[in-house]
Amino acid sequence: MKKKILSVLCMCAMLFSLTACGAGSDEGSENSGSDDEITLRFSWWGGDSRHQATLDVIELYESKHPGIKIEAEYGGADGYKDKRMTEMAGKNAPDIMQIDAPWLYEMQTQFDAFADLSQFEDVLDMSGFDEDFVNSHCALDGTIYGLPTGINGTYMLMNTAILDAAGIDSAQEWTWDSLLEDGAKVHASDPEAYFLNLDQHSLTYHVLRPYIKQLTGEQFMNDDYTIGFTEEQLAEGLTYIKQLFDEGVMEPASESFMYIDAFYDNPIWVNNKVGADIDWTSSLSARMAGFADTAAVTKVPQMENAKDTGILVRPAQIMCISNTSEHQKEAAEFIDFFLNDEEAISILKLERSVPATEAARQQLTESGDLDEIVNSAVNLALENAGATENAISQDMQLENILTDAVENVGYGTASPEEIAKETYGLLEMKLEELKTK
């Protein structure tokens, strides 16, 4: 009896090891590529609706190209970048990748991750894309490594119902000062509501950065690895953020900062008690879903005599081909279909923000799929765009140091001046480290 159990156990083990080997060899053939079927791995991040639309396009493509199988590797944004970089390090990255534009520099310099797209011009039509846009966001030293999936810009979203209730005119163009003044009214008239809702990342990216850039009119970080602003200017920006909390324009940090990267879970947001937020247009549809009827968009607040608007425009994401892919040409064909084909465009709609080609925008306008608010937000950003950021200004480690500063301001661990001083030192130290790398 016992012996029987043991032999069954062994059988099971053997059986499973066989299936395991099966799985392994399956992988092997995929990479070596047999004659009749080519498998392309395609990775992206997103929420459910983007997943579904993208999978539909893949299915459509596979039905039109019988020899091609697209293996979808998708998930949420959390950990997406880490995972891709782990794969790049292992020379095991998917053939086709959706990446965020600021990652391009890091991934390309560190891993030589992507293929030069210009070599596939016969199958990949790039004529519809704005050349300047592609060159400034999807290329390094003149080599194009990616194509934009859509146009992303910064804007301010308002829930006019909340502002009206507090007696605030939502049709005005905001300055940082007027925002501070009017912002307090929302919380004063409804103790559960706040004018602005931002987590520490957004506060850093969409308030501190534009504020400082409007002060300086310079790149945030200079190409020679020096800081593009002074310690005093940083202190000024941080002081402004402190005022936002002190005046009750924003919910106290002890409440709001635990919703880092979980914006939609904040009770004041789910209960529709937020007057405004500042963000990228790619998430606009999701953000206004709870109050579509009373949503309105406007420019990111400006300072008087601003030297730069601080408003950013960049690709929503960019589509790249792995340098280690064995089927780069087929990957290029797929990207061409994904971004240029009419059927694909009609499926994807605004899932990756407003498309980057004129033809696609035209098509969506005609079909009535180009949401008016989203489109106007993108246009607002395009019309008022500030200087394009250089690579070093987008470095995540520097950004994290600034986020820490904003957190410290929010929790009031020290005065803005003291925090600015310490932060400035940390930035200098990190820049020095990045420079020698």
């Binding site: 790049m88 879970d265 995540m396």
Partner: protein
């Protein structure tokens, strides 16, 4: 050579032949140890003396990483502090609670299986994504816990509002998952011969006295084992801080494991991260050595020991 000694060498030889078969049985582990533990360990030691960041060239930098960690890293000491607090608070609380429950459960009670399982379920949920939501939503300002406390007249507590409270809230999560330690204690309690406690009872000792004079000493090997394993795990804790607080507020829950992961897989400072992991390893090693050294004083052994070699 005499006949007798010849035969003893033969017996010895046969015995050695037999014993060498043991190598056959441990061969899988030997292979695994060399390929999947020793080799990665040595390469990580090597990396810790380089500027390795994956993808780029590897340059030998000597002990620069180690110097940087102690002199330049702005958050190293913070994460060490947080981790030590976590270890010192969470582990004893969890173990004391687990022991307490185990002692109560170690009776012939009806429905004991149910309670045992009920107490164990939180441990099964361990790193599930639902924990992140659960622990956030329960402890927010107007959340379920504050509401409960409000019913008994306690003012709302800002569970995540300050670095200290946030760390404590994480410790509560660790405590909540006391089930696996409880099982170990239960197992240990069942090992204690019944006649020992019975004898003490006949001698007229009270229950509390029996617990401290008989049960607890008999249980020290289990406690020792639990303390070692739980502390090693706590030093490496990553999940709870990563999914609930992201290390915040202001690095209040920035556990060492989280720092290590971020340096390795977000900042890609592999050499640096390897140096960090070796520091952790040495700390754990020191802790274990100290525990072993002192164990003779407080751990009761019938013979041999828990980690007896």
């Amino acid at each position: 050579m005499t006949k007798r000694s010849k035969s003893t060498t033969l017996v010895k030889k046969r015995k050695r032949n037999y014993d060498n078969k043991g190598l056959l049985f441990i061969a899988p582990w030997l292979l695994g140890f060399l390929a999947l533990q020793l080799y990665p360990m040595l390469s990580s030691l090597y990396y810790s003396f380089t500027d390795y960041s994956m993808g780029t060239d590897i340059n030998w930098v000597g002990i620069k990483n180690y110097i940087d960690i102690f002199t330049r890293d702005p958050y190293f000491f913070q994460s060490v502090k947080v981790t030590l607090i976590y270890v010192v608070v969470a582990v004893p609380l969890k173990l004391a609670f687990a022991l307490f429950i185990a002692v109560i459960l170690n009776q012939k009670l009806k429905g004991i299986n149910f309670f045992r399982a009920a107490f164990y379920i939180p441990s099964i949920l361990a790193g599930s994504i639902s924990i992140a939501i659960l622990w956030k939503a329960l402890f927010i300002k107007d959340g379920f816990i504050n509401n409960l406390l409000g019913n008994v007249g306690i003012d709302p507590i800002s569970w995540y509002g300050t670095p200290g409270m946030a760390l404590f809230t994480i410790c509560i999560l660790t405590m909540w998952q006391f089930g696996s330690s409880m099982i170990l204690f239960l197992a240990g309690l069942q090992q204690i011969p019944y006649n020992l406690t019975e004898a003490a009872q006949i001698d007229g000792a009270g229950k509390v006295r029996i617990f401290f004079k008989v049960t607890l000493p008999m249980l020290t090997p289990t406690i020792f084992f639990n303390v070692i394993m739980q502390t090693i795990n706590a030093f490496q804790e990553y999940t709870s801080a990563a999914i609930i607080t992201h290390g915040g507020p202001v690095y209040g829950t920035y556990l060492y494991g989280l720092k290590l992961y971020e340096e390795a897989f977000s900042n890609w400072r592999m050499g640096y991260a390897c140096a960090l992991s070796w520091i952790l390893f040495i700390v754990i090693l020191l802790f274990t050595i100290i525990m072993f050294a002192t164990s003779k004083k407080w751990v009761y052994y019938e013979d041999g020991g828990v980690f007896d070699v």
